[in-house]
Amino acid sequence: GAGVSQSPSNKVTEKGKDVELRCDPISGHTALYWYRQSLGQGLEFLIYFQGNSAPDKSGLPSDRFSAERTGGSVSTLTIQRTQQEDSAVYLCASSFILAGAGEQYFGPGTRLTVT
């Protein structure tokens, strides 16, 4: 079947604008994760969704970041009032097995550039 897809693949935005990044997980995967990959910081966990449970937002770097997952499937990561330090690759992953994170399948990422 299809893997995790993300859109757009690239996004250039001006400082101060809002952006929305989309993730379509693998069908049937109950868990969905967002990570940020930036130079010097490596891969950082942002947020986690599991079924209908409240998401774990402990990794979100500021209140400008938010995410939702509609119908237990598609997820949108929103960054408000973007700053230059938000420039990074945003990766989405999904998995089926909850315990021990299971095997997380990653999408190709969205490269965000804030000018």
Binding site: G42, L43, G59, L91, G100, A101, Y105
Partner: protein
Amino acid sequence: AQSVTQPDIHITVSEGASLELRCNYSYGATPYLFWYVQSPGQGLQLLLKYFSGDTLVQGIKGFEAEFKRSQSSFNLRKPSVHWSDAAEYFCAISGAGSYQLTFGKGTKLSVIP
């Protein structure tokens, strides 16, 4: 807090040579261990994982890794590197009942033809 250290930022090997990428972790119990590979412009692909049992695990593309509890290590090996193995490699851990992966900073592998 759990953490992962990949001591080598960049490694260069000749095609056909053997490879070992190092990974050390800090965790209060036995973690779940993963190696992922990322080719340029691509997402991460799982190479192999260790949850329990045999400490030598086999993965895709001819890779293997050995969990050594006494050394808190999970080094990745390949006996003969191919040019297509050039990529960035990430070691990651999580724990029982935990869903969050903690990644090392990655090791970039270059392969000389």
